[in-house]
Structures are given as structure tokens and as C-alpha cells.
């Protein structure tokens, strides 16, 4: 189950554990169902407790970025741990200006 908060039209999702192709399927469905029902202005993905992420996580981030653009909202990423930064920066996601 996802740990989330919704405050001032910001939906914050506290991701945790390992993000790979296996776990990203459920994360995608749960995040999309919440953004579709709440229609937040901003989707904030908090990576503080993420221990591992491979390129499936990049797909997850890019997919949610597209989803939020379609809904007319924004997305941001906070608390990226050091060991996950490398895979994120390799993807070029930082050029979208979503990493805070």
C-alpha cells in the first residue's frame, strides 16, 4: 500500500523499498488511480526511503510525468538518494526540471 498525503492540491507519494519492473507495475496503477481521482495540481514523488531503482523506475517517472501533463498538472521529485541519482541522471530526466 502506498503511503501518501494530499495537502494544498499537492499529492505526495512516499516511495520506499526497491523499484524494479516487478514493483513498478503496482506503483504505476496506485499512483495513477490517485491522480485520476484527486486531480492534484502537483504530484510529488518522494524517494527518501527508496533503497534501489533500475531503469524501470525511469519508465515509471516518465510515465507519471506524461500522466500529470495530460491532467494539466505538474510533477516533482524530491529527496533522491545518492545511489539512485546516477541512474536518474543517465536518463536525462533532470532536463525536465522536475528534480527539486
Amino acid at each position: 500500500m502506498l503511503n501518501t498525503t494530499y495537502e494544498n492540491k499537492v499529492l505526495t507519494v512516499f516511495l520506499s523499498g526497491e523499484i524494479d519492473q516487478h514493483t513498478s507495475k503496482n506503483l504505476r496503477m496506485e499512483i495513477d488511480s490517485q491522480t485520476e481521482s484527486l486531480r492534484p495540481e502537483t504530484l510529488c514523488l518522494d524517494f527518501d526511503n527508496v533503497k534501489f531503482m533500475d531503469s524501470s523506475g525511469i519508465g515509471l517517472i516518465m510515465g507519471r510525468f506524461r500522466q500529470m501533463s495530460l491532467l494539466g498538472g505538474r510533477m516533482k521529485i524530491v529527496n533522491l538518494p545518492e545511489n539512485i541519482k546516477r541512474v536518474v541522471y543517465l536518463s536525462g530526466i533532470q532536463t525536465l526540471g522536475v528534480i527539486k
Binding site: 524494479d20 519492473q21 513498478s24 546516477r86 541512474v87
Partner: protein
């Protein structure tokens, strides 16, 4: 070049086994006392290779994935990740960053991550027969004593 230690596993191509594969390869290379970054790099590269077997090699159908690990002289780690799936028709194309046949939730970065995080990546594939990805990385910091 002498091989100092080896391991082999095989497991069904279920996505839950991506985490299992990462745990096994981490445990194997811990004897070389890698840095956290080295460990993360290798885990991530292996995760990409195993995901490719599941998503592309077997296209989410049942199959077996084989991993063979070696520790060679000079702290060189070699992992071979193999499937007997459909194979890659055009390896050069498959290795291009952002190219994917996996749909829009896939970033197309699997091989780019492997190449960036490892010292060398070798891919051999035959259509209808399967694919073998070989990953090489030298561990710089080590306390490993020869057995």
C-alpha cells in the same frame, strides 16, 4: 586468466525474481569488499539484464533464466545472464538509448545503464534461440585474499 570463484543459478522468468537475482549477485561479490557504488552499479546492471530476459526474451511467458558469475584474477567480476527466449534481431538497434519495444512505460535505457555502470558489456543473440549478456567490472577497492 585464472578464475578464483564461481556461482551459478537458474530460476523461472517471474518478475519477482528480479530482486532475488540482485540479492544473489550482491552476496557473491561481497567477498571482494566492493564500495557501495560498485555494488549498486553491478546490482543495477544485473537487474536490467534479468528484466530484459523477462520482458523481451520470454515476453512475459514462462522460461528459465541462467546466471553464471565468476571472480577472476585482478578483482575482475564477470556475470553471464542468459535466456532461451526469442533472441534479438538487431543488437545494435536494441542497444541504442531510448529504443524500446516494451511500450511507453519502458524507458529504453536497459543497455545504456549496463554500458554506463559496467566496464564492458557483450551481447550475443540468435533469433529463436536466446540471448546471452556478459557483464564485466573490475572492483577497485578490495580485501579479497586468494583462497
Amino acid at each position: 586468466m585464472n578464475t578464483l570463484n564461481t556461482m551459478e543459478i537458474k530460476f523461472p522468468s517471474k518478475s519477482i525474481n528480479e530482486g532475488f537475482a540482485r540479492s544473489v549477485v550482491s552476496s557473491f561479490i561481497l567477498q571482494l569488499d566492493p564500495t557501495i557504488n560498485e555494488l549498486t552499479d553491478i546490482k543495477t546492471a544485473v537487474s536490467e539484464a534479468v528484466t530484459n530476459c523477462i520482458v523481451h526474451g520470454y515476453e512475459d511467458n514462462a522460461g528459465i533464466i541462467y546466471i553464471k558469475g565468476e571472480i577472476r584474477e585482478d578483482n575482475l567480476i564477470v556475470f553471464k545472464i542468459r535466456d532461451k527466449g526469442k533472441g534479438i534481431p538487431d543488437i545494435k538497434k536494441a542497444m541504442e538509448p531510448l529504443f524500446t519495444t516494451g511500450g511507453e512505460e519502458r524507458a529504453g535505457l536497459g543497455f545504456a545503464v549496463m554500458e554506463s555502470f559496467m566496464d564492458k558489456v557483450k551481447v550475443s543473440s540468435k533469433e529463436g534461440k536466446g540471448t546471452t549478456v556478459t557483464l564485466y567490472k573490475k572492483i577497485i577497492r578490495t580485501n579479497y585474499e586468494k583462497p
